[in-house]
């Protein structure tokens, strides 16, 4: 219960924690490679080069394992966001650069990666059916909206609600559409679309 070790309130060991972390890493890797359905005890154990029983020892159920993997991915996304926000180019920048920043923020990586994005949006569907995940995903989205507002303000663009929220929604929708597009060009197109919208925002008052 204390830290999540399989058995009761035992004291975990550093080595044990390392193994547990390795399992979470493996679960996250499987999740991003092949989706939620592929995150089985056996697949994760094999990926981590650990025996099957390790998964049941460190996680009470498959759901816990999946949740841990989602949080791990979320943490990485958040790290990337912080890196982006700290390395923000100084204020006067053409819309191309601002669009790059925003897309990179939402996509959680410098370059939108189809496999990763697939998991990203599959998570929404999962969250809709699992009450536990719903809150996490909701909070994640809120965070993204706040960060987007910060970027807009930083570049002197209007950032009053609901504009940032609408912008994030649009980028989400565009990335989603880009995923079913034939090639990577559809994903690159997203940046041009966002740039165009930013240009329009500079003129119109509301958005």
């Amino acid at each position: 219960m204390t830290t999540g070790t399989g058995r009761g309130g035992r004291t975990p060991t550093p080595r044990g924690e390392r193994r547990r972390a390795a399992l979470i890493d493996a679960a996250a890797a499987v999740l991003e490679d092949a989706g939620f359905a592929a995150v089985t005890h056996r697949a994760v154990a094999a990926r981590a080069a650990l025996p099957l029983a390790a998964t049941t020892y460190y996680f009470a159920s498959r759901g816990d394992l999946v949740t841990a993997a989602v949080e791990r991915i979320g943490a990485r996304h958040r790290e990337h966001a912080h890196a982006v926000l700290h390395g923000l180019p100084p204020a006067p920048q053409p819309d191309e650069i601002v669009a790059d920043v925003l897309v990179s923020l939402v996509a959680g990586a410098d370059e939108p990666d189809p496999a990763r994005l697939l998991t990203f949006y599959e998570r929404y569907a999962q969250a809709g059916r699992q009450p536990g995940l719903r809150e996490r995903v909701g909070a994640w989205t809120d965070e993204l909206v706040d960060q987007t507002a910060g970027v807009l303000r930083h570049y002197g663009l209007p950032a009053t609600e609901p504009l940032p929220r609408l912008l994030v929604a649009m980028v989400d929708g565009l990335l989603l559409a880009g995923l079913v597009g034939a090639d990577r060009a559809a994903l690159r197109q997203v940046r041009d679309d966002v740039r165009q919208v930013l240009g329009a925002i500079r003129v119109g008052p509301t958005g």
Copy 2:
């Protein structure tokens, strides 16, 4: 091969076709109720009150059954779109009404239904991993963009690309975010957001 009956080039019977249709209906119902993973032979057969073997008799594989269910849902979505487009209120309309029309068009129902929308977006994730589905979903999205452009033109709003595409993407993103929101209010909020954007579009030139 001819019409899709399980066995070779046999001549299907009206009753057989009815049974096949019943299975597709059941598969679509299960799909919208509980998602892709829940569409199993047994679940579909039980839903249709038919023996298990009926599913393997009429469909070569589970994938075929799922694909048929997706197409059935797509057909319903398309019917709804046509109904909306034919019952379009005459040209001068406040943005509230236009927003209603657009959201209803994208959501595929008069009122956005969480369960249905969940399947709607889960489909994107599935399409990303199944080449067969990808084309269908891509075509579906293109159709939606064209219909949206038609509605915009009908109400004297700018409808040059990429505006309709961006609008559809935004509605998709908003509906997605509304799904992980706590209650239905988040989904109703979508219409207000769209209305606001329409107001901005009337002013700004590009979008």
